[in-house]
Symmetry: C2
Subunit: 503 residues, 2 copies
Amino acid sequence: LKPLAFPIEISLEKPSDLDKKADRERVVDFISQVVEAGAPIDIDLDVLRKLPVILRKGDYSLHCVIASYGERLEVVSVDETECYGIALDLGTTNLVASLIDLGSCRKIAMLEAPNPQIDVATDVLSRIHESMRGRGNELQRLLIEGVNALIGKLCGSKKVNSAKVFALAVAGNTIMTHYFLGLPVENIPMAPYIPTAHGTGFINSARIGIEMNPAGSLYAFPNAGSYVGGDIISGILVSGLYKAKQTSLLIDVGTNVEIVLGCDEWIIVGAGAAGPALEGDIAGIGMRAAEGAIYEVNLESDGQTGNVKYKTIGGKKPVGICGSGMIELVAELFRSGAIDQRGKFTASPAWAERTQGENEDKRFMIEDGETGDLWIRETEIENFLRSKAALFASIHVLVKSVGLSFKDLGMIYVCGAFGAHINVDKAISIGMLPDIERKRFRVLGNSSLAGAEGLLLDRNLLSEIDRIASLITYREMNTEGDFLKEFPAAMFLPHTNPEVLKA
Amino acid sequence: LKPLAFPIEISLEKPSDLDKKADRERVVDFISQVVEAGAPIDIDLDVLRKLPVILRKGDYSLHCVIASYGERLEVVSVDETECYGIALDLGTTNLVASLIDLGSCRKIAMLEAPNPQIDVATDVLSRIHESMRGRGNELQRLLIEGVNALIGKLCGSKKVNSAKVFALAVAGNTIMTHYFLGLPVENIPMAPYIPTAHGTGFINSARIGIEMNPAGSLYAFPNAGSYVGGDIISGILVSGLYKAKQTSLLIDVGTNVEIVLGCDEWIIVGAGAAGPALEGDIAGIGMRAAEGAIYEVNLESDGQTGNVKYKTIGGKKPVGICGSGMIELVAELFRSGAIDQRGKFTASPAWAERTQGENEDKRFMIEDGETGDLWIRETEIENFLRSKAALFASIHVLVKSVGLSFKDLGMIYVCGAFGAHINVDKAISIGMLPDIERKRFRVLGNSSLAGAEGLLLDRNLLSEIDRIASLITYREMNTEGDFLKEFPAAMFLPHTNPEVLKA
């Protein structure tokens, strides 16, 4: 493995009358031979200023830290044995970071925090409007402060000095990445939807003001356009989809939903408003996958009485239901006959007692909690079915558009915070995912973060990232005629024609 | 020509639904095609932040400035049509800078100022001792302040905003270059004489605190060891000695004297204490080549009476005599019989009137000036002869050491402030330079500055510089047995055996 930054011990021949090589070149030539022949190697100027004393103090042996700046390596610290890296998933709603010891190549901590830009606006388009009204700098500052606070907490949790973080790899959607780098976002939402940059390569961390070693390097995953961010590219990297001969599907559900279809020769990314319902953002009961969120549901019934069993994150008192919990709930309500094909509550005797209200207020009791009941409303189920229908219709249209059917797919990768807990069987049972062999499903969880972690540990992936970006073409899904034809049928549980799920 | 930095006008295809390339990549791809295919091209982050607005304001045409960072090019300014470069000769005694319009590739101004480090110590070894006593930062600050003041004056003289200077090329001896870059100098004077760095490549000007565009690039000529500085490498570059099949000689007289012998396969640099006498640093009458310095001398005599004619720099009243003036004076004193082969005043009737004093005070009157006489002492002539003997002996030993004689030399290049005014015939007549065909002499003047100017105008020279550095080996001259044998004979005018001058 070749990490983005790494500690190294150097033992040099001492200079003599026959070998008068300067300190800098003595170190550089050694690294060049031992680490990476042919790569240009620099020494940071501040480090070089300290080098002569440290070199002689250690009798020409020294520990130093090297960081990658793409093609180029740079000695970013001397007299230092520790080297950490941070992987960062820049979500619209949440920031997730992990801390990796690049000496042992082990992940030692992970932490999540809300994206502080939420205080200005919850969705990215509204944030861009705020930027156009002059609040761009404030939005950038909020994000950087949020990231720095997260890094501070993350390092603090393991008593790591953040000055020993020498590499940061960050993946996010195009807009979040632009905010992170302080790049203008104003042209992104206006046709023809042009970002300021697809990628900026490696940047010195001090240029962005990130709380890490000021000589450390920072890499933001490139985007493949305004609607295909570095987070998707990171996910594709983790899946390996871009290396396979057989076409595979990748579904990434975050605040937005992206569907990726491709192989080693082409990649299509389709995006549509499958919507936040899948990530738990449903008015009322919905919530993020946080403590107290229901993520697993089982309904038991003898035909006369019914019982709801569930698990919550952290085993805490239930306060809501997250995306994967919602899939389980709807799947179980449907399986046990509590709702019908259209998602409406039935008059099933086993569940009659739990069903109350009329019209808009018609609802089902999940828990008679001490601090109040927990209900799911019929309107909330309808919202959810709209999202699942949009997702399935998008997948179906995309796969058909390249002349394939579901059974031709090599793999289906399910990504996103949503994806971390998903029960594939139940998702299939409600017609959200294609009904193909279970062994062809792979649940990847937060693949945006995982890709950043992977890059931290192996800089050889840089060329893969560029390759993925070059393979991608983008498709707007919601506006396609086929999508609008498929969507209504997919609103049913599992579908008006279940054969379609396997086709 | 490919300057180190240059303005360029860019006209881009506008983005469309079929061409959604980001602003950054649109600009980078254009430059890559038009300027230098294959070279990595970056856009400075601050520039990138301004790019989207400027690009659209100019309807996808824009002026920008590109600076070289070695292999890599970087867009360092947008909405800018002017681009200047500064060449800098970092002398121990003087700083000399020239301002070059990199749009028209013309030199538009040149200026000189004393090196402010002189206030701490006149010679470099004393400065290093001061650094070891804790005054290193002060010495660096003095130098940077001196350079910044010089740049300010230089730009001011042509009403150029120094923020429009995007490239700086600097050549100096190893110690001066170390001070300039803020690198430790402490190990340079101690065996085995190891510099901190041979070269650092391109550095962002903001890292050194130079008064120019903060995104601009700065290149310091590398050294080939503690005693072979970037100034010598710059001189070798200007001479072209490193490209010729036939071996040539280059003599650089500054505060120190370096002799270079070489061809396209090898280069030997020999240094010795030929001494400051050659640059005019003689107690009493000696001075730098500044206003009022005598630089040309002619003695006329009818055998009975004698007359001294001379020219001064700026045509001013004579205040002293510079290095080249000293050569002329000694040559004329010898030719006209006023001094003998040993440099002692004769009893020649034509000059008897002008010769006064006894022993240590024995002196010759150059001018009966209004504000006081101008005299040259016998002891001063002896000092000078010691320097000329050291220079000639060094040259002779070096040439013989490779099995050659003077007549085998292709060219003799004479460099240094000293070299700018030198009369080669007179220097030969006193046995200071070898007596070979005059057409094989080339007087290059301040070749350290000229090399820096050349690089500013043609970055292709970077590879030549690296090649020169790799060809060089260094020879300490003063300690060689042959030198000590040759030296006494060369103290005579022109030599105890004039045949040696042609051998």
